[in-house]
Symmetry: C2
Subunit: 428 residues, 2 copies
Amino acid sequence: MTQPLRLGIAGLGTVGMGVVKIIQQKAEILATRGGQEVVISAVSARSKDKDRGFDLSAYAWEDDPVRLATRDDVDIFIELIGGSEGPALAATQAAIAAGKDVITANKAMLAVHGQALAQAAEDKDRLIRFEAAVAGGIPVVKALTEGLAGNQITRIMGVMNGTCNYILTQMQATGRGYEALFEECAKLGFLEADPNLDVGGIDAGHKLALLAAIAFGTQVDFAAVELEGISAISIEDIRQAADMGYRIKLLGVAQMTARGLEQRMSPCLVPADSPLGQLEGGTNMTVLEGDEVGQIVLRGAGAGAGPTASAVLSDIIDIARGTRISTFGQPAETLSPAIKTASVTEAPYYLRMQLTDQPGALAKIATVLGEHDVSINRMRQYGHDAATAPVLIVTHDTLRATLDKALQNLPHTGVLEGTPIAIRIESV
Amino acid sequence: MTQPLRLGIAGLGTVGMGVVKIIQQKAEILATRGGQEVVISAVSARSKDKDRGFDLSAYAWEDDPVRLATRDDVDIFIELIGGSEGPALAATQAAIAAGKDVITANKAMLAVHGQALAQAAEDKDRLIRFEAAVAGGIPVVKALTEGLAGNQITRIMGVMNGTCNYILTQMQATGRGYEALFEECAKLGFLEADPNLDVGGIDAGHKLALLAAIAFGTQVDFAAVELEGISAISIEDIRQAADMGYRIKLLGVAQMTARGLEQRMSPCLVPADSPLGQLEGGTNMTVLEGDEVGQIVLRGAGAGAGPTASAVLSDIIDIARGTRISTFGQPAETLSPAIKTASVTEAPYYLRMQLTDQPGALAKIATVLGEHDVSINRMRQYGHDAATAPVLIVTHDTLRATLDKALQNLPHTGVLEGTPIAIRIESV
C-alpha cells in the first residue's frame, strides 16, 4: 500500500453525497481493489450548514471550490457542481493548473470546453476523467475508450436522456399527450431548471458530443450537433409509429461520413422489437458499432445518486490503480477538428400531414415530393369526418436537406393544413 | 513514443489471424491510442505451411509455443491455443516465469488454473488479461473489474453460449426439436469438437466462474458451478413457457449468499419481455447488478474472429497505455476461497409431468408436493386422447433441494409416467 489517494469534492448534491457515502462505507474493498487507500481531504458546496445526512466533520470545508481545487492535500479534484461556465469551470482550470487530476460529471462543461481542458491537463501530465458525465452508471466511456480501442468505430447511438424517454414511453403506454406528461415530469422533479436542457435534447446532445470525440478522434464539438427536441411529437405520431412497428425515441447518432462527422440528436423511429425500441422509462441505452466487434449494446440507469456515484468511483479507482489514459482516448493534439456537416446520411422518413378534403389533394402532394426526388414507399390515408384528412407517408431513403426542400414547397399546393411532421427512421 | 510493444502470438486460428489482421491494418490508430507502437515479433501454430491469407513472413516462426513465450523479443505472450492443459498451459506458465505479460482467450485454462496463474503472474509483477475469454467482443471483464469497481456486486447473470441460445430460440421460432437443431449446428460448425462443452453448459460455466471471481473477490472455482445443459429441453417446454410469458435460456447466475457463493449454469425461464428473454440467436448478454449502479446489461457478439480479436486488442492497448490491474481485479492472495454451496436461493419452478389417466391422479401429486413443503402457484391440466395427460405446475418459491426431494417421491404415487421436468424461473 502506498500513500492514500486524497480527494477534494466540490458539489454535495445527491451525486456528491453518493460518492461520500461509498467512500465512507466501502473503504476496505476500495483499498483492496485500488491498491491504495482513498480518503476525502476536503469538500465544498454552497451551504455548509445544510443537513446532508452524513457526518462531514472529518473533512476540511472550503466555501470556494477554486480554493478546494488547489489545496496541497488534494490529489484528485472531483467536480460535481455542474454548469458549463462559472465556478465549475474556474475550479477545474485551477485544479489542472495546480497539477491535480480531475474527475467530473459535467457534460455541459466538457462539451463546450473539453478540447481546451484536455489540452491543458495533458500539458501538465494530468488526467480528466468523466465516466459519470455520460449515461450515468453505464460504463460507456470506458467501453468506448478502452474496451473497443481496437476498432474503427462506425457509428454510435444512444438514448441518453431518461426524462425524454419516460415521456415518450408514457405517451405510448397511456395515450396521454406530451403536455400532460411534461407537467407530470415537472412535478416529479424529473426536469432540469431549464427544461429545454432535457426536452430540447441539449443534455443528451452534450453526451453525444463527448462520445463522438472518443469514437472518431475528433475535437469535441457540441455546436456541430444537429439538435431537435421532442416537444413537437404528438400522440398521433406515437400511435402511427407503433402501428407500423416502430417506437419514437430521442436518439443520438454520430457517424463519420466522407464529408465529415455527422452528429444528430433528434426524435427517430426505431423498430419496436430492437433493443432501442424496447427501452422503456428512464433507462438509458448506448449502442456502439465497430468494424471488428459489430454492435455492442449497453443498458442501465442514466441518472440518480447511486449510478452516477458508481461512475465517479470507477474513475477514482482507475486513478488509484495507476491507469492513465488521455481524456478522449488519444493525445489532445492528435484530435482532428470536427468538420461541421449537415446530415449527409440518407434515411427513410415518416411524414404526417393534414390534407384538405378536395379531389386530387393526395396526387398534388405526391407530385411535389416526386419533383424533389423524394420517392414514396408507403402511404396511408384515413377515413375522416372533418374537413381535413390525415395522411401518412413513409419515404424511400433521402437526404434531410432534399426532404426539407420538398416540404417547403408543399404549401404551394394549397391542399395542406398546418405544417407536416417529418421524423427520420433510423436503421438500428 | 517509447519502444514498440512486442507480441508473440501462439495459435493462428480465426481469432489469432483476426488479431494479426488488425495489427497489420490499424498500426497507426493503435499507436495513437496506445501511445506505443504495437508490433508482432513471432508467431506459433501447429502448421507453418497452411495458407492463412495473410503474409506472416515478417514474423519469426516457432513450432513450440513454449519457445515463443520465452523469446527475448516478446513482451506480451498472446495465448490463443485453447484447452485447459497441454501446450496452452505450459506456454502460459513459461511466459510468466520468463517475466512476460499474458493475454489469453482461454476460458477453460483460467477456470481451472486461474488462481495459480494469477498468483504466479503477480509474484513476477506481471499481468494476465482475458477480456476475450468471456462473451467475445462484449467488454464485460472490463465493465465488471473497472467500470463497476465502486459497487458491491449483488448478482451476475449471463447468456454466454451462442450455440445454445441459437438452438433454444430456433426451437421457439420454428417449432423444431432439440435433436434436429443440434444436428443443424453440427453441420454449420457451431459446435465444439466435444459438443458437451456447448450444450452441456461447460463452456458457459467456465465464463461464469471467471466473472464470479471478479464480482465476489473469490478464487475462481469452476468445480463449484452447478451445471445443467439444454439437451433435456423439449419443444413442449419451449411452448408452455412461451404460453406463460417466458422464454427458456441457458442462463448463468452467480450470487453471494450467507452460505457462500452460488454459481449455476442451467436452463431457466425468464420473462419474454425482459432483455434476457428478448435475446435471440447467437448473441450474448451479460447482466451485472451492483448495490449502487443497479442493473447494467451488456449485449453483443459472443464469438467470431472480429469480436474476439477486438477483445484481445483491448487488452493489448491497455498494456500499451500502462494499465496494470490484478488478474481478477484485486491481488490474488486477497481472493477468498469460494465455498462450494448447493443452491440456497429460493425461486419458483416450472414443472411438467405426464400423469396416468385415473381418478385422483392430480390430487396425489399435489399431496406429495405439499408434504414436502412445495406449494403450488399455478397448475394446468390439458385435454388428451392418450392414456396419460400432461400437467404443468408453477410452484411458489422453494429451494432446489426441497423440490428434488419432493420429485423423488412422486413416483411412489403410481400415477406418474416418465420423469418430471423441473426448470427454475429466474427473476431478472
